[in-house]
Amino acid sequence: MEAYFIAIGIIALIYVILSLGLTLQYGLTGLINFGHVGFFAIGAYTSALLALKGVPLVFSFAAAAALAGLAAWPLGLVSLRLRDDYFAIVTLGFSEVVRIVITSERWLTNGVQGIPGIPRLYEGLGGSAAQLAVLVTVLAVTLVGAWIIRRIAGSPFGRLIEAIRDNEEAVQALGKDPARFKIQVLVVGAALAGIAGAFYAHYITYIVPDQFIPLVTFYVWMAIIMGGVGRVSGAIVGTAILMLFLEGSRFLRDIVPGVSEVDMASVRIGAVGLLLVLFIMYRPQGLMGDYTKR
C-alpha cells in the first residue's frame, strides 16, 4: 500500500511539473500551448537515450531540459507573431510531428517497440528506499519549479507577461516586443516539460510513442482548468483531481466486470472531453480561481 502511494505521488508530481509549465505559458502569458506532450516526449527520449549510452543521469536530465527548450525556440519564432489560435494549431501539430518522428526513426528510438530498460534514479539504493528517494527528488524539483513560477509572477517580468496576456497591443504601445517575452516563456515552460519527461522515462523505465499522444496535453489542460488558471495552487489542486480521476477510472475497471481496457480508455477520453466542456462553460475560473472575475 505504501509503495502504491509513493508510485501515485511520483506520477502526480510529474503532472504537477507539466502543469507548472502550462501555468507559466497559458495561465500567466496567455499562450495556448496545445503541444505540451511534444516537449514532454523530447525530454523523455533525450534522457533515456543518453542514459542508455552511459551518460550520468544529472547530465541526461540537463540535456532533456535543454533540448525540449531548444525545440520550443524555433517554434516560437515562427508562430508567436501570429494570432493566439494559430499558435494553438501549430503547437498541436508540433506534438503530433514529434510523435511521428519517434515512431518512424527506428534507428534512434526503436519505433513502436519503444525503449525498454531505462536506468532508474538511485538504482544503487535498491527497492523501496530508491522509490522514496525518487519521490523526494521529484518533490524537490516541483517545489523549486513552483517557487520559481511564483517569483516570476511577482517580478517585473511577470507583470509584463500578464500584461501581454491581458492586452498585447498596450504592451506593444509601451515599446516592448511581446514576441520576445513570449518566446522566453515558451522555452522555459518547454524545459520544465522536458524535465518532467526525463523523470517519467526513468521512473517508468519503458517508453513507447503511444505514451505521448495529445490526450496527455489535455490531461494537463484539464488539470489547470479545473484547478484554476494562472495559479500555482490551482495547478496542484487540479493535478490532484486529475490523479483521482485517472486512478479512480482504473480502480473502477477492476471492480466492474466485463469492461475491456479499450472501452475504459474510451470512457476516460469521453470524461475528459465532457469535463473540459463543462468547466469552460460553467466554472472557467476553476476551483481555486478568483471568484470575483470571470
Binding site: G30, I100, G273, L276, P284
Partner: protein
C-alpha cells in the same frame, strides 16, 4: 508515368482534405475560431455512412446519412456549447471544441468498438489510360465531392442565407446593423460545416479503413489546407486541399508514407512564415 498515377491518387485525397478544410474555414471565417472537432465530425460521418450502407447496401443512402447525421451533431454542438461561449475568448471555444472532439470519439469508440471497419464496396476493373489506372470508385468519389462542393458554393453564393453568411464573415457588426439575424446564420453555418465534414469523412472511410481515431488524424492536413488557402476563403480551402493532396502523394516516394502528416506541418509553418494570409485570404487575418 509513375508520378502521373500519384497525381491522380493525390487529387482524390486532395478532395477529402479540401472538403475538411472547407468546413474549418467556414467556421473559422464566420464563428471565428479553429474548430478542432472537425476531424471527429468526419469520423462521425464515416460511421453514420457505414451503418446506413450496411443496412441498405446503398452508398447513396450512406452519403445521405453522413450528411444529415453530421449536420445534426454539428448543430447540436453549436446549440449546446459554442453558442453559449460566443462572447468568450477564443481559447474557451478552442478548448470546448477539443472537449467535444474527445467526447464524440469516446461515444463512437464505445458504440462501434475499436476494430477497423471497411465499406464493403464491390471491386471493379480500373480504367487504364497509358500507365495511369483510375478506378470507377475514385471517379464516383470525385463526382460526389464535386457535387457536394457545387452545392456548398451554390448555397454560399446564390442564396440569401449564403449571402448573409458571407456578410457576417466579412464584418459581423455591419451585418448585424444591416438587419441580418446572427442566430439564423449560425444555424445554417453549423449545419453546412457539419454536413461537409460528414461527406469528407465518408469519402475517407471508403478510401481507407474506419477507426474512431481516423478523422482526428486528418485534422492537421485540413488545418494546413485552410491556412494555405487563406482563412475564410472557401475557394482557397478547396484549391489548397487539392494542392496538399497532390504534394503529399507525389512526395511519398521521397519522404516515406509516415511523414505525410509531418509534411503538412512543414507546409503550414512555411505558409505562416512567408504568407500568413494564405493564397486567397485577406491581409488582417493572421496577425
Amino acid at each position: 508515368m509513375f508520378y502521373a498515377q500519384l497525381l491522380v491518387n493525390g487529387l482524390v485525397q486532395g478532395l477529402v482534405i479540401g472538403l475538411a478544410a472547407l468546413s474549418i474555414t467556414l467556421v473559422f471565417g464566420i464563428a471565428r475560431f479553429p474548430n478542432a472537432a472537425t476531424g471527429d465530425f468526419m469520423t462521425f460521418g464515416a460511421y453514420a455512412a457505414l451503418s446506413a450502407h450496411k443496412a441498405t447496401g446503398s452508398i447513396a443512402m450512406g452519403g445521405l446519412a453522413a450528411i444529415i447525421a453530421t449536420g445534426v451533431i454539428s448543430l447540436l454542438a453549436y446549440l449546446a456549447v459554442f453558442r453559449r461561449l460566443a462572447e468568450r475568448s477564443v481559447v474557451a471555444l478552442l478548448v470546448a471544441s477539443i472537449g467535444i472532439a474527445f467526447f464524440i470519439r469516446a461515444v463512437l469508440g464505445v458504440a462501434f468498438g475499436h476494430s477497423q471497419q471497411v465499406f464493403q464496396v464491390p471491386l471493379s476493373r480500373p480504367y487504364v489510360f497509358g500507365s495511369v489506372r483510375i478506378t470507377p470508385l475514385d471517379l464516383q468519389l470525385a463526382a460526389v465531392a464535386l457535387a457536394a462542393l457545387a452545392l456548398v458554393f451554390a448555397i454560399l453564393y446564390l442564396t440569401p442565407i449564403g449571402r448573409q453568411m458571407r456578410a457576417v464573415a466579412d464584418n459581423r457588426d455591419l451585418a448585424r446593423v444591416s438587419g441580418i439575424r446572427p442566430d439564423r446564420v449560425m444555424i445554417a453555418l453549423w449545419l453546412l460545416a457539419g454536413s461537409v465534414a460528414g461527406v469528407a469523412g465518408m469519402m475517407l472511410g471508403i478510401k481507407t479503413i474506419v477507426t474512431p481515431e481516423f478523422g482526428w488524424e486528418m485534422l492537421l492536413p485540413a488545418f494546413t489546407a485552410a491556412i494555405l488557402g487563406g482563412i475564410g476563403s472557401p475557394v482557397g480551402a478547396v484549391v489548397a486541399g487539392l494542392i496538399l493532396g497532390v504534394v503529399q502523394e507525389v512526395s511519398t516516394p521521397l519522404v516515406g508514407f509516415t511523414y505525410k502528416i509531418a509534411l503538412a506541418f512543414i507546409i503550414m509553418l512555411a505558409v505562416l512564415l512567408v504568407r500568413p494570409r494564405g493564397l486567397f485570404g485577406r491581409l488582417e487575418g493572421a496577425r
